[in-house]
Symmetry: C2
Subunit: 474 residues, 2 copies
């Protein structure tokens, strides 16, 4: 009988545990032993669900857990919780671990195959007071629980969210739902820098109407803390520092009972870097199409710790999204298990909402298209989600980029209400297929008055873009 | 100066008037004179909106009119309402017309270019009593107004809808909203014969839960009328016949105060047939890619009176849909106006709803795939519209057909609640692009918990279909 192969997985969330599950489907325990290490208290959870848990729309944290540690154990996956991998020893094929709840006991575990799924960590600028109690990132369920603990203990109802990207606007909504008066501080000239500024401006207007104060061009300089105050004295002593009181920018001071950092994330590749594995410009691991770390036949990586190929620009990019992490895990598990699967890349689709505003994009923004060396035209249209006469028809703005001369679709951004967000999928598939905007005008999309006007908003944009491509000539 | 060219358009609804408008955009009145004939009281309207008007969700008929006759006149389009074209004289380049409100005055109008946009007519079986007062088709705004008049005068609240296709189920919803007790009589074994029977069965179950009695395998044999009854005596004398009282099938009798025929439509090509123009198997006009009637350089046809190329099966089919009619009109107007545009064909997308149930399909059904000579696998999955933990997540069933050996996507059917219908667009674009189900598994679709699970339901189906293709081998 062949020796049992040893698979070690670093990181027990979406990518890592999808890989574990898929590998176990394909290989029995006597063929493949699977050991996974997770340093937090939770496994296989939806980090994307944290804003809705914080907002009280979702029962957490259990509802966010797709599969518990016990369920993994029952499937012969040796998942070790609260165990941090502290070193990758690639030469000897082993990882060093530390048990966080067991006096920091260290040990080594050998592997034949290794999967790195170490995720991402929130950007946390080095500013005075940034580590004060009451200042929270929201990357893990542990983070979510800590924030909820702060909210429960919070004496006031003023929240400052730093950053108006996806996480920032979703957390703004969550805090509004919790009854907080929310101020969002954004360094750029518009919220949602994942959109072009003209589309970001639509988000800004809508946030204002929702009563979310959004301060643009605001550079945060620090966090002020309150070391006094009778009721908080014990807590601040216990935590060894003053509790958050306000956030300062170059121009002003914003009182805050709680601060949420929504500055995005960067790949957590400290271990990989120390082991000399190849990293891209953003610090994410670089892989081949089978999700193997480049140059390493027995090491795979997936999820928020890798860079992915952007099929439109041809560059690799870091995009932290649960849907990619799940796909990566599935593909890694298939390959580790002896099957064959590849991840061709992404087109940069993302969708989000803030209250009833839906925000979506796919493909390239103007600045990304410029950076990729593309010449292009842009159009923006306003159209309705349903037939104009049908109840609930709501306006949406669709912006479309198309390559000059060829008319190839390069990107779409949508801002609107119900029915706006998922319309981006039409463009995501068209981008993947390399369609021109003229080809898109003939797309046979679902039409009935409750679902769409006779010309779907995406088709209206495609028609206008077709005209713009012609007018621009070669 | 060149002589003014004369364009004559037969039929003043979506296809005809879109063509007129687009041609006018491209050519001035002294270059191109446009005359359009419409026999009904309404022009440029959304026939698809009639069920919502009847159901009271839409103010009609005016809300359903995209552009009035006066608006067309103001743009130098000579639209003649209530004027029926009775003959096409292709040899002499003229059409004979009859003014329906002017004593039936007849005249001839010459053309250099002709557009046929004569639409479709409801199927109306030859059965005893089928023309009785109270029995209605719902193809035109005139039909909708007549039905509403009947409802207003109706002494009871029992409605029978004959046919459980798109029109049938939409009218069933409308009559439920009007407070009617609705019985739907369907000849086939399931409602929605535009779906496979297993998916139709899901619609049947849902309709039952809505309180819509749906009798399957019911062959209608006639309509019983009531010539007596004091209150109706005068009305029935005036109309020269008895008013509807019940619908009979081979097995039973269903009392009805109003009857709606939802048996679908067939192309209205009587004039075209008489003029010897080429018709397909369904009786629709056959055109080339520029929407010219085959073999006739100066005659175009579009909308519900033509057959369109089904890009998946390679056959031409008759599909009456406002979205196609608008595209056809746009393309015809461009070509008539001296530009260049083509209609490549359709993939058979349709979406509908009955109350809160959304029903969608694209591509081929099983029986259509068989008829096209294709060998294929099918899978069905149940998944949720949003992350399972997010409020409002609702289950949807997705059925997918893929070609054996190649794995090429052949068709998708979806039945679910909110968010189910327009998901079919993902598959519509993938079909147009000729994607395989395995390629689809990597699609970068919009993901966030309020919009989708990490694996969009369409991707879940694509994954299962990929497995089925592999398992089926070659």
């Amino acid at each position: 009988m062949a020796a049992t192969e040893r698979l070690v997985i670093v990181g027990g969330d979406a990518a890592g545990m999808s890989a574990a599950s898929q590998a176990r489907r394909l290989r029995k325990p006597d063929e493949l032993a699977i050991t996974a290490f997770e340093r937090s208290h939770f496994t296989s959870y939806s980090a994307c669900g944290i804003p809705y848990w914080v907002g009280g729309r979702v029962e957490g944290p259990n509802a966010l857990i797709a599969r518990t540690a016990e369920e993994h154990h029952a499937r012969d996956i040796d998942l070790r919780m609260r165990t941090e991998v502290t070193e990758l020893d690639l030469d000897r094929g082993r990882v060093r671990t530390r048990e966080l709840d067991n006096g920091g006991r260290e040990s080594w575990t050998g592997f034949d195959k290794l999967v790195l799924a170490t995720g991402a960590r929130p950007r946390r600028p080095s500013l005075p007071g940034i580590d004060a109690p009451g200042v929270h990132g929201v990357q893990t369920l542990d983070d979510g629980q800590a924030l909820l603990d702060t909210l429960a203990a919070s004496p006031g109802r003023r929240a400052v969210v730093v950053g108006a990207g996806y996480i920032g606007v979703e957390m703004a909504e969550a805090l509004v739902l919790r009854g907080y008066q929310v101020t969002v501080l954004e360094r750029n000239g518009q919220p949602m820098s994942t959109l072009d500024p003209d589309m970001g401006a639509l988000v800004h207007e809508a946030m204002c109407r929702m009563g979310i104060e959004t301060v643009l061009g605001a550079t945060v300089t620090g966090v002020l803390t309150d070391d006094g105050g009778t009721s908080l004295l014990e807590r601040s002593r216990e935590l060894g520092g003053g509790r958050v009181r306000a956030v300062t920018t170059e121009d002003a001071e914003y009182p805050a009972d709680v601060v949420v950092l929504g500055l995005g994330v960067r790949p957590e590749t400290t271990l990989a870097a120390a082991a000399g594995l190849p990293l891209g410009e953003s610090g994410g691991l670089l892989t081949d199409l089978a999700m193997r770390v480049r140059g390493h036949d027995h090491i795979w990586a997936g999820g928020d710790c890798v860079e992915v190929l952007d099929l439109v620009s041809g560059h690799t990019r870091h995009i932290a999204l649960g849907t990619h992490a799940n796909k990566h895990g599935q593909i890694i598990g298939t390959n580790v298990g002896g099957g064959y699967a590849t991840f061709p890349g992404v087109v940069g689709t993302a969708v989000s909402k803030v209250c009833d505003l839906e925000i979506a994009r796919t493909g390239l923004l103007e600045r990304q298209a410029h950076a990729a060396g593309l010449r292009f035209v842009t159009v923006t249209v306003e159209a309705t989600s349903r037939a104009g006469y049908y109840p609930g028809a709501s306006p949406m703005h669709v912006k479309m980029l198309a390559e000059r001369r060829t008319g190839r679709l390069l990107g779409v951004q949508i801002v609107g209400r119900e029915g706006a967000g998922k319309r981006v999928d039409i463009a995501a598939v068209a981008l993947t297929a390399g369609m021109t905007v003229e080809q898109m005008t003939a797309l046979d999309l679902g039409y009935a008055p409750p679902f769409s006007p006779v010309w779907d908003p995406v088709l209206v944009a495609a028609r206008k873009a077709t005209g713009a491509v012609r007018a621009a000539g070669s």
